[in-house]
């Protein structure tokens, strides 16, 4: 509940933020704090320096391009997305964000924080993989784009490395998406979640909570048996914990994959 000593800076620009992150080995970016502050309260991790991104206006906001691409600044909150007209170009984004925790968390929690913490039970990593999002990372060496499928590397590890910042996420337009989950209580932590998209014709499935990173499947069609075979063929090896055994997670993954695909099919 009580944090270790830490140093704090609140830069006004991305460049200043990168400089601070680069000059302290134990520096971490502070976005909404809905994960990081908890981790620090438990003293499970104690960065030496917190670089608060709150004042960097260019990192927050949602833009809709003429081709329908939705570009979301990393410091955009879940509430911003739920309330955004622009984000409705890809309705699944707001629908899923609305299921995350509660109003207080949605008001502060950010998409950047969600994807960069890459907790295996998070909603956005599988969702963004399924919809084919692209992440933009800024580092001392410049800016680069990474497809969502390649962004998530391990538990709490992403392609945005030390001294780098995720600045924005671009999502192509589309409506043929589905998201199915079994949470612990309404809007609670997910035991298993699955995001599915049919927009590129054949389905893209991303299964969360079963591995360090979302498990991506691309079955040939949305037919029930095809999807089932694909999930079983993935040989999932989920963790066992107090909320679910590996077997139960494996079973839920299959059921939820079918439901997510069915949902997506109903919306194309």
């Amino acid at each position: 509940m009580l944090l270790r000593e830490v140093e704090y800076a609140r830069p006004a620009s991305v460049q200043e933020a990168l400089r601070l992150l680069g000059s302290h080995e134990g520096a971490r970016a502070l976005a909404g704090g809905q994960t990081l502050i908890n981790v620090m309260k438990a003293r499970a991790a104690s960065p030496d320096v917190l670089v608060d991104l709150a004042d960097i206006g260019e990192l927050r906001g949602i833009e809709l391009a003429s081709d329908g691409t939705v570009t979301i600044g990393a410091m955009t909150t879940y509430t911003d997305i739920v309330d955004s007209a622009e984000a409705r170009a890809r309705p699944i984004l707001g629908e899923v964000c609305k299921q995350i925790a509660d109003v207080q968390v949605r008001n502060r929690g950010t998409v950047g924080g969600n994807v960069c913490s890459n907790d295996p039970t998070n909603h956005l990593p599988p969702l963004l993989v399924a919809v084919g999002a692209t992440m933009t990372i800024l580092g001392q060496g410049g800016e680069r784009s990474v497809p969502a499928r390649e962004f998530f590397l391990g538990v709490y590890m992403t392609a945005a490395g030390p001294g780098e910042l995720l600045t924005k996420i671009s999502v192509p337009p589309g409506k043929g998406d589905g998201f199915a989950s079994v949470p612990i209580g309404r809007d609670g932590t997910c035991i298993v979640n699955v995001a599915a998209s049919l927009d590129s014709g054949a389905p893209t499935l991303a299964i969360g909570c079963v591995d360090a990173v979302p498990v991506v499947l691309t079955p040939d069609s949305a037919a029930e048996e095809t999807v089932r075979v694909a999930v079983r063929g993935a040989n999932l090896d989920p963790p066992s914990d107090v909320h679910a055994s590996a077997d139960y997670r494996r079973h839920l993954a299959e059921v939820l994959a079918l439901r997510a695909v069915a949902q997506a099919a109903g919306r194309t």
Binding site: N38, K41, V105, N107, R186
Partner: protein
């Protein structure tokens, strides 16, 4: 600019300005309760799940245990102490009392702030919207039944 382990912050709470030196590691809820002596907001957990610490920061509902005090520098904060005027309960507080929406009163300040935020945004929420609006506030005494009734009544 450099990172610092403590700094002086200025906050406005319920219309009153405060300037204090605070360690960077101090949580906003501890700052409010211990440094500013505003003990109406409470702490019920250590993982940001219970919402007893809920306050409004620049009009936005947040859990103040999930923020550092230094993050609130320059902000306008509203806590439960700012709801009544001169000891006159506002409509929401009165509705809570009328409908027995509190028993031990420990979750109540946070619950009132969440309800305040909800009603500012949505003057006639449905039951589902009310429950969604207080989903981040745990109560162990009431089962939420009367809390929902009170907020419905206050909305009318």
């Amino acid at each position: 600019m450099e990172a610092v382990s403590s700094r002086t912050i200025t906050v406005e709470v319920n219309g009153v300005q405060y300037e204090r030196e605070v360690e960077a590691r101090r949580l906003l809820i501890h700052f409010i309760r211990d440094d500013l002596n505003l003990t109406g907001s409470h702490i019920g957990c250590d993982t940001g799940n219970c919402g007893a610490c809920s306050v409004l920061i620049d009009g936005v509902l947040v859990k103040s245990c999930m923020m550092l005090a230094v993050q609130a520098d320059g902000a306008k904060i509203e806590t439960v102490e700012g709801l009544a005027s001169d000891g006159e309960l506002n409509g929401l507080q009165q509705a809570f009392s009328d409908h027995h929406a509190l028993q031990c009163g420990y979750c109540t300040p946070g619950m009132l702030m969440s309800a305040t935020a909800l009603l500012r945004e949505n003057a006639s929420p449905s039951e589902e919207e009310i429950r969604k609006g207080i989903q981040g506030n745990i109560c162990r005494c009431t089962g939420y039944v009367n809390i929902v009734e009170a907020i419905k009544a206050a909305a009318q």
